[in-house]
Amino acid sequence: MTVAEVVFYVLAGLTIAAAIGVVTVPNVVHAALFLILALLGVAGFYILLSSEFLALVQILIYAGTVSVLMLLALMLTRGAEQNLPTVPSGGQWPLGLAASTVIAIALLIAVLDSNWPGDTGQVTIVSLETLAGALFRDWLLPFEVVSIVLLIALIGAVILAHEDEREV
């Protein structure tokens, strides 16, 4: 067993355990902290897949910004009568478990039964310069469109969360 395999299995175990924590712990704040762990695990996968830029983006945007936003929302949506936002999980969990088990079995059978390419040993590392060149030349139009989407989402979020004086 090589070092890479050990790293992979440790990362996989960590990420899956953290993801199980996200969906099973009743306390939402603990779930958010587990989510940070799972997202950092995914960043580790990106490093293993030799895309360091994506790992950095993952840590900056997901583990940094998105998680902090989640915690902020949890603070702001706290019920007045309770200290921690513990919404009961409802009676749907057996159905949800059954449905997701079916999806899991289908996906895992598909993964194990198919002949995936890629064992050819032709893996090349994409350098940052190549990535930037592709992003700003070949994918320029999607890049500009997504920046407009981000701008609209930003304005929309401000308008949605804005305190309206007339209604208070």
Binding site: M70, V111, L160
Partner: protein
């Protein structure tokens, strides 16, 4: 130099990604807190992004279209989180709850 990706088969990454996605599905179906559901959606998006990057690294090293797609997935996910939290805050201000079962007025 032997890269890491040559020592680990592609199936391993697909396996982990499938499990992550399924856990996200379970979270969306079983949790009732809106922020908790959002976190489960993030798990699913991450599973998809891992799949994209794995396929890009193993089968498409010249064009790495999966890598570009994963970047766009992350950008859209950031926009989605911002908007969803705005909506959740708005709902909470009117209804004093983040429980999605109590916010059923859009349901017929």
């Amino acid at each position: 130099m032997e890269t890491v990706a040559e020592q680990i088969p592609l199936e391993s990454f697909l396996f982990v990604s499938a499990i992550l996605f399924t856990l996200g599905v379970y979270g969306v179906l079983s949790r009732r807190n809106a922020v908790h559901i959002l976190m489960s959606v993030e798990l699913m998006l991450n599973a998809v992004a891992v799949n994209f990057v794995a396929f890009s690294t193993y089968t498409d090293p010249e064009l790495f279209r999966g890598l570009i797609f994963a970047i766009f997935v992350i950008i859209i996910a950031a926009a989605e989180v911002g908007l969803a939290l705005g909506i959740i805050l708005r709902v909470f201000r009117y209804r004093q709850t983040a429980n999605v079962d109590e916010v059923s007025q859009l349901k017929w």
